[in-house]
Amino acid sequence: MKINQVDMKTFCVIPAYNEEKNIFTTISQVLPRVDFLVIVDDCSRDQTYEQSCRILNSENISSELKNKLKILRHPINLGQGASLQTGNEYALKNEADIIIHFDADGQFLAEEIEKVINPIKQGKADIVFGSRFLDIKSEIPSFKKNIIMPLAKLFNLIFFGIKTSDPQSGFRAMTKEVTQKIKIENNRMAHCTEILAKAHKYKFRIAEVPITVVYKKFGQKFSGGFKIIKDLFFRKISG
């Protein structure tokens, strides 16, 4: 039985690690825009978990909204990729139709969630990547824009044949079929490339939509890029 595209149940997964300053705001902004929100606290050393739970005790938030929130916690720190996979598994168990990945640091705009899931709802794509480079609204640090990202794009093109405009986008949406097929195995930051590569490998319909990124900090550094390459290499040779 085909689900009515409009009635698709949307789950948003937010991995959080040491985001005590941003998590409350991020949850408050995302929660009204999705059917269910899953926070995966990756064993933060700060008050991220407690701040997330604060929503459940907040009087300003309706009980209806509170019922849409699930806070999971890893007993040890595993990495962003592992947190996303934990969230994915929770979403699949709870009959999600669309799974959205969103960052906890407040760099993405919650109002753009609708824009990212639209190609899936319209039946035009199986997986949608938010891109910082299709629009000029994001003020990307110039070193990142002119050095790191072109190198990452080149790496993705040479080793995986990926041609997307944003090689490391963390804002994405996918159908449950895609989520079932793409099991994130790279626990840390290499998961962005892994998801892109697997989406290409399994020939899912891919779409990109422009998104705005508000940079509060630099994010992934140049050294982080080498770590990603190392993780991808060892994951490849260890099967």
Binding site: L78, T86, Y90, R235
Partner: protein
């Protein structure tokens, strides 16, 4: 000759350390036996390096016995690191699965 004595003393020190680990029960009997044999072979090779040199030459290798020992040691080390890496990846996977199960409970 002095080099050989120093090398043997170092290996005897390793055997002594191995004995202490065994006494503290931080290694199993199989590990103890494996490393004991390993270091004893090392001591024997160094003690009889000249006859080994002759043997190596007679087998057609151009380098001396001690060089060959180093080449083989490096190869074994690479292999062991590779095996260790695979084990670590598997352990990493298992820990991830276990942590995930706990958090999804």
């Amino acid at each position: 000759m002095i080099q050989q004595v120093i090398a043997i003393l170092i290996l005897i020190f390793f055997v002594f350390k191995l004995g202490r680990e065994w006494k503290k029960k931080s290694i199993t009997i199989n590990e103890f036996i494996f490393w004991l044999i390993f270091w004893i072979i090392g001591i024997v090779v160094i003690a009889f390096i000249k006859p080994i040199d002759k043997l190596v030459m007679s087998l057609g290798f151009s380098s001396s016995g001690i060089n060959l020992v180093f080449y083989v040691a490096v190869l074994i080390l690479f292999y062991l690191i590779f095996r260790m890496r695979l084990r670590m990846v598997k352990m990493d996977k298992d820990i991830t699965e276990l942590s995930r199960k706990i958090s999804l409970k």
